[in-house]
């Protein structure tokens, strides 16, 4: 063997030849084949893979949609309807793409919840978590700009409201807004740049997802017990165990997705977006897409515009520093009986915000949003830092293998028999 070539175990001579020069097959085998994965994942651990699939679906459908879409204020609405009526399976592409955005947020919200509940953000996975929050932020920007493209009433007025938020910043605010618009109102220049960025950002997301996965493969996955695997008895090779388990989740995911696309394609959208954009007619209630509602509620909970904007951005920013706010060394909420209750209350506050964000800014929704928003921040900024010191967690299990192999009796022969191998 020539020096400098990778030593490959691949049997197929052609693949072996490639693998010696570019060991992608070895890498795939290492990262997705034999990759040691905690043996005790529950189905919450499906959602990372599901998010990846969802991203690919969005990029694939988006590329085909963009072949027929026209980013011009006079033509955008009609070009979308042309896709719906005249492009072969255009309705399918568009409904998959539109509902795919909702599915993406459902999947990612569950994925984030998994991280919060099982403490996946804690050392050594802080950077992994922060990359995830970055993906979430990029997703929100991409989804927002995508919703503007059909140029319906909600597209136009949503864009107007959200871009206007930046005018809250003193001195530079107005300049930022003009710069974002590319003019003095939301108009053709805005639509064009939003289309351009909406095409660009998913590939940025893809890049950050790659870093997210790369970081994951350094630290390895967390698991429902929140304790690190101590040896091969605690792990299973990713394939076939988790490829099989992910496949089950994937089918369920596709079933939910299909139910939305084929039977309720417009349920999560707003009827007003089937009215062409009209700068002279303001809709009675301007509401963003459902996945932004919790943050919209936080924005409206503050009587001061700048305060609301800062608090809304703060609600995401706080996630970035979460690894340092949670002072407890115990990851999984299974062993944190007090923190668990506060976390479920936080989940309730999130749903209250989601609900209130879709309602008009009147009582009782305003007060309710304020209480929920206050708790949202209280949990991260006060409760979590204090609980780490005050709470007495339940005793942690000795290893992953023990509680999984129930009964507490002696482990079956062979469980520890495999010699330690370097992963």
């Amino acid at each position: 063997m020539a020096s400098g070539l990778h030593k490959s175990d691949i049997a197929n001579p052609v693949l072996n030849w490639i693998d010696q020069r570019l060991p992608v097959f070895t890498m795939m085998q290492k990262e997705y084949g034999t990759f040691p994965t905690p043996r005790n994942f529950n189905y919450f651990w499906n959602f990372g893979a599901l998010a990846m699939i969802n991203l690919l679906i969005m990029i694939a459908t988006g590329i085909f949609l963009s072949m027929h879409y026209t980013a011009n204020t006079a033509l955008a609405f009609d070009s979308v309807e042309r896709i719906m009526r005249d492009v072969n399976f255009g309705w399918l592409l568009r409904y998959v793409h539109a509902n795919g955005a909702s599915m993406f947020f459902i999947v990612v919200y569950i994925h984030i919840w998994r991280g919060l509940y099982y403490g996946s953000y804690k050392k050594p996975r802080e950077l992994l978590w922060m990359l995830g929050v970055t993906i979430f932020l990029l997703m929100m920007a991409t989804a927002f700009m995508g919703y503007v493209l059909p140029w319906g009433q909600m597209s136009f007025w949503g864009a107007t409201v959200i871009t206007n938020l930046f005018s809250a910043f003193p001195i530079v605010g107005e300049y930022i807004v003009t710069w974002l618009w590319g003019g003095f109102s939301v108009d053709n220049a805005t639509l064009n740049r939003f289309f351009s960025l909406h095409y660009l950002l998913p590939f940025v997301i893809f890049g950050v997802v790659f870093l997210h996965v790369a970081a994951l493969h350094i630290t390895g996955s967390n698991n429902p017990l929140g304790i690190e695997p101590k040896g091969p008895q605690d792990t299973l090779p990713f394939h076939p165990y988790y490829t099989a388990k992910d496949s089950v989740g994937m089918v369920v995911y596709f079933a939910v997705f299909a139910a939305l696309v084929f039977f309720f394609p417009n349920m999560l959208g707003h009827p007003d977006n089937y009215i062409p954009a009209n700068p002279l007619v303001t809709p009675a209630h301007i509401v963003p897409e459902w996945y932004f509602l919790p943050f919209y509620a936080i924005l409206r909970a503050v009587p001061d515009k700048l305060g609301g904007v800062l608090l809304m951005f703060g609600s995401i920013a706080v996630l970035f520093v979460l690894p340092w706010l949670d002072t407890s060394p115990v990851r999984s909420m299974r062993f944190r009986p007090v923190a668990r209750i506060f976390l479920f209350t936080w989940l309730a506050s999130f749903f209250v915000l989601l609900y209130c964000g879709g309602k008009p800014a009147e009582e009782p929704y305003v007060t309710l949003s304020r209480v929920a928003a206050a708790y949202y921040f209280l949990y991260f900024l006060v409760i979590l830092p204090l609980l780490g010191r005050l709470e007495r967690p339940l005793p942690l299990p000795e290893s992953i293998a023990r509680p999984v192999l129930r009964g507490g009796g002696p482990l079956p022969a062979g469980a520890f028999a495999k010699p330690m191998e370097k992963a």
Binding site: E81, A244, A255, A259, F262, F263, V338, V352, C356, P364
Partner: protein
């Protein structure tokens, strides 16, 4: 210490729960409840009633089209609801459309063809408003998707004209409608008497029937792909059910010796 912490947490949880309760109870009482119409195209296996769509097109053509366009549809799309090529050509030829320029550089008028888009009744928005007391009759191409309640709302609106209740003064030129947001609508009741539209089949053209038929027609106009979509959806769900069973069995088999 632990105990008080836990009860504090529980209290916080309960408070949040109670806080949310009245909101769910409050509900939305601004819009009146729409009547149940039970269109055949609702539900997973929904199908359009082609007779109703054809009658509904008649209502649109004779009544609605005087003010409302259908600009996203072409005349040939009517083939999908069961009209023959000759019938479609006849419908299209009743309008004059501008075409050109010809070899002399002149624009000219010609009779409509099946491939033309539906001709809108007004040249532009200003003309439409001028002819309608300042109100703009919306284009109906996607109206059933653009209104909360869809076809049921259209039916309710068309049959919802009543005398204004005591104490309500209508603005000049406005009409009172139970289901229109704000109740004052520029459009006068379009369907006023039984037999207003002549039906080719034996169905009796009552106001209720006409409203039902034109609501069905407009639902089709907004979602001509619906039947194909739902039948594809049923097939895909069946496929996923089988695939899900297989995937789950495979998973069980692979994991059998692990648990």
């Amino acid at each position: 210490m632990m105990r008080s912490l836990k009860s504090l947490a529980l209290a916080a949880g309960l408070l949040a729960g109670f806080g949310a309760a009245p909101v769910w109870a409050a509900g939305d009482h601004s819009a009146p409840k729409l009547p149940e119409v039970n269109f055949p195209f609702e539900g997973m296996f929904g199908h359009y009633d082609y007779g109703a769509l054809q009658r509904g097109f008649g209502v649109y053509k004779q009544v609605c089209s005087n003010c409302h366009g259908l600009r996203l549809l072409s005349y040939r799309d009517l083939r999908q609801v069961g009209f023959s090529a000759a019938q479609v050509a006849a419908v299209a030829s009743t309008v004059q459309v501008q075409d050109g320029p010809n070899d002399d550089g002149q624009m000219y008028e010609r009779a409509g063809r099946a491939s033309d888009r539906f001709k809108s009744p007004f040249a532009n928005e200003k003309a439409a408003r001028a002819a309608n007391n300042g109100a703009l009759p919306p284009d109906l191409s996607v109206i059933s998707k653009a209104r909360e309640g869809g076809a049921s709302y259209i039916y309710a609106l068309l049959t919802g004209y009543v005398d204004p209740p005591a104490g309500v003064t209508l603005m000049p030129g406005m009409n009172y409608n139970t289901y229109y947001p704000g109740h004052q609508i520029g459009m006068a009741a379009p369907l006023t008497s039984d037999g207003q539209v002549e039906y080719a089949d034996r169905t009796k053209p009552t106001v209720d029937q006409m409203a039902r038929d034109v609501a069905s027609f407009l639902a089709w106009a907004a979602e001509p792909e619906m039947e194909e979509r739902k039948s594809m959806g049923v097939k895909i769900l069946i496929f996923l059910a089988v695939l899900g069973g297989l995937a789950y069995s495979v998973k069980r088999k692979i994991w059998a010796h692990v648990h």
